[in-house]
Subunit: 341 residues, 2 copies
DNA sequence: TTGTATGCGTTATCAC
DNA sequence: GTGATAACGCATACAA
């Protein structure tokens, strides 16, 4: 391919190879005319520096890794879009890895990223306990957890939503609409997002003197079909919930589809509230009321903090950013039906 | 960070550094016991090879680039998911770049990818004429165009949908439902997807003896709001179309939203058919009839062909894969209303 | 202000 | 089978 190296440029410009390197790196003390000669030679040869070699010499690759669960999931793809854009501002490229949040996969993902010597890593798919991340933080490797966090004293390195508060807001909204029997849909508790939301849910249930019924709580793998089936089952039960709080918008869609298939009207018959506020939730045909993440703000902050860690290796400052969620009122929640008593 | 190199391993195992390299690369003729010694040392030190150095020595990075327009767009994110997964099977990582398909951006994207010495590139956001790609193909650099193609004799290197046929299928479907006035929504003609679909549209219009009316054709930048407004305008015109063929599902959603806002029922009042079959299109609240891409097949083939090009540099075989689309019947199309004549 | 020499961590080409 | 040693393309400490 591009077989021209810094040496070719040097020869053509009649200077040494190090001089070329210097102009490449904007070294200040170069005679303007030799700088010009070099620049000309570079242009004439169409030379562009080999970032790999540069990385080897520098110990810096100008690329970061982004580990997410599944890029085809709107929440992640919308986030990735912002991260890509922000990283680019710092002249960084990003390697994205879908890692399904499976433990073995996660390790492999980190390994390949480390082998490729990325300058930093953003992970959006960790469990609450994750020794690999702990280990990396110990080594002072630039790594920030996005959306989810690990829980370990002294290991703060995350930008996340205030998920406890988010759940509070959702339940409060529902309670004000007179809902008393609220189904809870979330993923496994080993993820901080779901763990925190559950705590928030429970605390709200408590403050409003509602009853906790595990029968109407789903806390398993977030597979569309499973949640769909679960919701259908609830809708057919003796004492069906009047409202559903779903930990992700995507799963709220599953609940909504279940309702359709059961001939239930939303929000007349049941209310549904989600979490995330993915793009499609605002669509006229969906109109999902939801607890919105501030993706733009979160992603931007994540990159900013990561870049700071990268550029200033000695900086061991913790990153502990918790963003306030927002209730986005749309059309899937309404006053609870009066029960026939 | 990981300061241990192949030399440290060599020292510990009491062999030369080249021997270590050999076991790393599975060189066949090594005495089993020395191999074992080396393996032990590697494990003991927790050594993992530096891919950057390896890349420099090898001229091979085991990473490819993927240039798309916007990863937050479902069509691309769903594609990216498959590509990531397939690339991983070949032990490849992928750098994703959102490049908004702007010309200057595109050049920059290619430049950074080349500077990072990726082994190959998949681009899903090219115009029909693109000298940069031509140039790369000339140099026999592994590059494949996905979804869109460039048109230049002898420069076949793409896997795309048969968009001409796709448009035919859409119009045929609509015509069978007795629609005669069909609006056409697509992006700019400098993209092969839209160009080909337009040709297919026109040919169908012709074979069914319908009238071409530029007033009901949109062929501009695919911005949600613009398409939404365009559709609203048409719906309020004297002679409104009874059906809409949209070149992307996403824009079909815009049309559908416009219909809602105008109090029009789908499919009773107007029919809408899309292109792509993104995940959300199958949702009960959307149920969009569409011309489906076979993303799984297309993405898998793309990686396969790209890997072949990478591993066999001398192979100058063209790749010219055109996939048949499928009509996915859902609920947004129906018999045209009888006009009051 | 510029050139020389060395190193970054591998692979590859020679020898032995 | 294995060990020196020279690339790979650049950055940089040290000289000049």
């Amino acid at each position: 391919m591009n077989k021209i190296s810094i040496y070719d440029v040097a020869k053509l410009a009649n200077v040494s190879q190090s001089t070329v390197s210097r102009v490449l790196n904007n070294y200040p003390y170069i005679k303007p005319e030799t700088k010009q000669k070099v620049l000309n030679a570079i242009k004439e040869l169409g030379f562009s520096p080999n970032e790999i070699a540069r990385g080897l010499a520098n110990n810096k690759t100008n690329t970061i890794g982004l580990i997410i669960e599944n890029i085809s999931n709107s929440f992640y793809s919308e986030t990735a879009h912002i991260i890509l854009r922000e990283a680019r501002k710092y002249n960084y490229e990003v390697i994205i890895i879908d890692s399904e949040s499976d433990k073995e996969n996660f390790k492999k993902s980190i390994d390949s990223l480390m082998a490729k010597r990325v300058d930093g890593i953003i992970v959006a798919s960790t469990r609450m306990t994750n020794d690999i991340i702990v280990n990396l933080i110990d080594k002072n490797f630039p790594i920030i957890t996005y959306n989810r966090r690990i829980y370990k004293d002294g290991y703060n390195s995350h930008v996340v939503l205030d998920n406890f508060l988010g759940a509070n807001m959702a339940i409060e909204h529902l309670v004000k609409l007179n809902h008393k029997r609220i189904a809870y849909i979330s993923g496994p508790l080993r993820y901080s997002t779901f763990y925190d939301r559950l705590q928030g849910f429970l605390s709200s249930i408590n403050t409003y003197n509602l009853e906790v019924d595990e029968e109407i709580m789903y806390m398993d793998k977030l597979e569309y079909k499973k949640v769909y089936d679960f919701a259908k089952k609830l809708m057919n039960s003796n004492n069906p919930p009047t409202a559903y709080f779903s930990s992700t918008d995507n799963m709220a869609l599953a609940v909504m589809e279940a309702a359709v298939s059961e001939g239930l009207k939303i929000p007349e018959d049941i209310s549904v509230i989600g979490c995330d506020d993915i793009d499609i939730s605002g669509n006229s045909f969906i109109q999902l009321t939801t607890i919105a993440q501030q993706k733009e703000k979160m992603a931007t902050l994540t990159i900013e903090k990561l870049m700071k860690k990268i550029s200033d290796k000695s900086n061991e400052e913790k990153v502990d950013i918790v963003i306030k969620p927002q209730l986005k009122l749309r059309k899937t929640t309404a006053e609870a039906r009066k029960e026939v008593t």
